[in-house]
Symmetry: D3
């Protein structure tokens, strides 16, 4: 698995998903943002970590009685107990929020074990309680029925889809107060650097725009003088 | 109509919709949660009461002019004026939120008459104002057009669908800050008891998990020692 | 283009979209509310202004590289830089929120130029930041990918659809904390008057209902005595 | 119930659903066509008869075991056995085709009892066999699971929605090789007359267009001379 | 893997998917029918064979260039070249028909290698040509773009979802002119027997109904005399 | 406007939409196939011609009475009367098939004027009759209500979206028995050449596969010997 530099993880904590989407777009990657997924509560900080995945398939009734949860190797529970500290558990719930992908007990356990966050393209039950946890969590909408109704957890840490985005184990997952994006592992370092630079420029641009400047020539900087002003701004602001 | 014990109603005020969904799932009922409906504002308490229903059908233009509201027996207005105190008005709006199921005047009247709450699988107009009322209200999304545009109120207190859940008059409707579930009247007492017990155990589990315990063997309690610890916990906590 | 009286604009600041929807419904206009669009943050005040429109079409990859934004006449940027003060920029994003209609830099610039607000039937990126701006903004859901992924801005100030509502340049756009409606320019003055009257009656009704009165005979006022009480209420309350 | 003249029924056998939709549109009725429903096989003739309705609600598992079909009063079976000869059985399946509204045995029985046709906004099982029956049948798509999986038949001959069209018992249902429309009973006679006239003109227009004429001035006949030509055409063609 | 008797496969060739759905429903399995999938052309015979599966995930652009097809182990091509004779290739295309699951060259090869059929919950390209092949094929709708646009083939012969039905390798797939169903391998023998019996009775019932009999007491046979008549019918008809 | 060679038009008559989709995909164009649109009847030949476009917007009731059709410049009628011979009329009906994009009279007129074909991402009324015309027509599904109900024709020959594909006037539209694709005008000549070559190879491959050859090494031709065999095949078959 590709190793991502700790500095990159740190940089990714300070850039927006929108900026990352543009950086990936420059490299021809258009579908890395997880569609139609939102934070249960806004944390004011980014979730950043490698993806650890769980795949759901449609549930067959005879394989999905409550008794199944007595099996300590049940993939849903096993995923929660084996997700590495610092990782983000990403669930392929087949974009079906009619049943829960997990509830507050499992997500609390995930948090206690040191996970960085959790994402599903389905919904969480006990969403009101999960929203109060420290751990960032993202889903489509609250959903109270047990996952057994609709979905069977079948595979751990295989490539999956989540909200129509491709997710490979080890890809870097970044979530902000808007949405979640998947940065392919082999691109994470360069994307982190580039997004960091882009963010500095965007912050400068916002300041300029708030001061009354037009975006023409400024964003993007087709008027070279803006780059000079930016250079000075960086010095002054230590960025 | 089946009579539900007042103690059951009280117990249902202190359990989550998710727990009820699991209790019903054990009995083979998988579709009692109203899908894709959410509270207009979170109340921090449960809505619990017997269902009083209103059925909408598609509106035919010549039958749905504003003049229709002059009829004191118009089913929408009549439902609001006859919904019993303590009951929850549940509307089958055919999952169509392009027009309003009701607005703040009717919902305020419903509240004044002592209703416990209101649910539609369409949307409310004046949602911002309804959200500020004491009365719990649940819908799919805000919707400003008058119901006449899309829906005609046609029947009161017949069996309906709401968010793909079956609702019979007198069924017990329970809503929390996540969603709403329909407990069939004849099961309400036993479900209330069971959910109450389940909630005690879940509260115990959350406490254990927050203290660092694994969920394996604990949730569900396949390791018997957890049941012993739970027994002591109940004593200490008076539950 | 039809001229709308400044007093009408002022009146429209104090009526709800729901009331306007009913006033338009009386005139046979059923589809003026923009469907499935919501405020990024509730402002507690109405957005009111003439529509200035931007039309998107599906993006063709060779026409939608990041380099396109270097063109000062790119319609998206041009729209932002030419939207008149007091106007509402309304975007036809083909109801596709898989890519952003705009982000915080452009919306900030729009605000600085004096626009009254912005509406898209797609989604905004940097939604968390746009929500904090003074400027009212409405969309379907947050969406981080750049618009180039899905949509190409192609036309400025032509008739468009937005959330299935017809929007002609110069129509009066009114948004409250629930949703957004399009008042055809030639009807704006009379609708403003009528909605203003309706709002007075509705406020009276809410007060009556909160005091325990039934809605039968009151809303609508089929019992004439209610109109007398209303007349006195207007005097007392100066409305 | 309104009585419709036998001549009207006969006339409705020779006009298209499209023509009827326009005739109803002139009277302000825009939503009478059943949306997203198609013939299982094209019959080359119209289905015409009064609506006899069946309403489905979401199925609750304990009420919908196969044993329920042993009840001779089960509404689905009862509807088939009581639908009057000449009537069209119209089913409100909540636009949910994930389970069958009925299968070939029931539809064969319906045919043997003299029904004119059958329509559902869900799907039929054994669709390949139903397609071969004389009886016109319309649905959304083939669907093999028993209706018990999703839907419970709950009411007979009440007002319903079918494919978002309002259907009242006794309304005249007309289906052609494209789709199905609901003509309100009280309008059926005048609509039949008008559509009959419109059809004569449309047949004339098609002939003219095939002969090379422009539609401008002809359709609609803003050029008066076309009406004169039409008058002669009617004489010649005996219409 | 469970072994299914050759006689069972043979029996399954002569029963409908609808009958199988009911037989599975009796055992509590409600979701085995693949939803919203239809034959490209009606064959007038059943497709029956064990499932061999292919799983797609969302495509990431850098992994899905046309060059990928040069890899002889590309899972899509590899699946076609390793699907056992007599098996049905079932593809989980995530219910996304915006790109093709396969085209006529691959499906022709699959046929030449002796496969029994092919099913996708996406769409096939070259559908007009695939429809002319002997091999039964089922999909959602024709779709001309190459699968690389949307989907990446990632896994062979793992448990998947197809049209919201759970599919395990080795399950028996049965398709008729209406739709496709998945019979779990361990139930295939008993379901084949039972469906065979049910079909005999259904054929008898259709004959009776065509002769004018009511369905009450006959279907289901609550009137015992019908079972006697059926017994004679079986003798006479050798079933 | 770019001129496309007549030979290219001719070549495009003999290649499939699927092949064109792949040729465009090689150039980075992934979304040129019109999604979810199908032929009203299969013609066994391709429709090929430059796009002439019509844009619909949502209908406002006061602007869309039947009287509007009396206006000879009504864009829908005007488009039909001005679409050049050999061109394909492509309609942006906002993917809304609840009302008709056109009916048999207009489409017959279009045919008489020499148009090559017609495409809408909505639906046609009188679909059964249009299907019988010589003119190729493509839509989403039959739809009987007049377009006035939902859509207003507003612009002629502007860039539009159709089934989520971008369409510029003059782009070459190609339809086969499966679907429709938009070839950008400036690429049409080279795409025609390339697709022609690809088709020769694909025909060769199908022949080889039918003779029992594996696709590995053949499709794509990673085994060079296949290219030699192909060279001979071309000679023999004069391609």
């Amino acid at each position: 698995m590709t190793t991502v530099k700790p500095e990159s993880i740190e940089k990714l904590r300070h850039v927006s998903v929108a900026t990352l989407a543009t950086a990936l777009y420059k490299r021809g990657l258009r579908n890395q943002t997880i569609q139609d997924v939102r934070p249960l509560s806004q944390k004011g900080r980014n979730m950043v970590g490698p993806a650890f995945t769980l795949r759901y398939m449609p549930a067959r009734e005879d394989r999905n009685t409550l008794a199944e949860f007595r099996n300590p190797k049940h993939p849903q529970r096993h995923a929660v107990e084996t997700c590495p500290p610092g990782a983000v558990l990403v669930m392929d719930s087949r974009k079906d929020a009619r049943a829960a992908s997990a509830g507050d007990i499992l997500i609390t356990r995930l948090m206690m074990r040191g996970a960085e966050g959790v994402v599903t393209d389905g919904g969480f039950r006990d969403a009101m309680r999960i929203a109060e946890l420290e751990l960032p969590a993202y889903h489509s909408r609250p959903s109270s029925p047990t996952n057994l109704t609709i979905n069977e957890a079948i595979d751990i840490n295989v490539p999956i889809g989540c909200g129509d985005a491709p997710v490979f184990p080890g890809d870097i997952v970044v979530g902000d107060d808007d949405s979640v994006i998947i940065v392919p592992a082999h691109l994470a370092d360069e994307i982190a650097d580039e997004a960091n630079e882009m963010t500095a420029y965007e912050d400068f641009v916002v300041e300029q725009v708030r001061a009354g400047k037009t975006i023409i020539g400024l964003y993007p900087p087709t008027d070279e003088s803006n780059l000079e002003t930016f250079a000075k701004w960086r010095e002054v602001n230590g960025r």
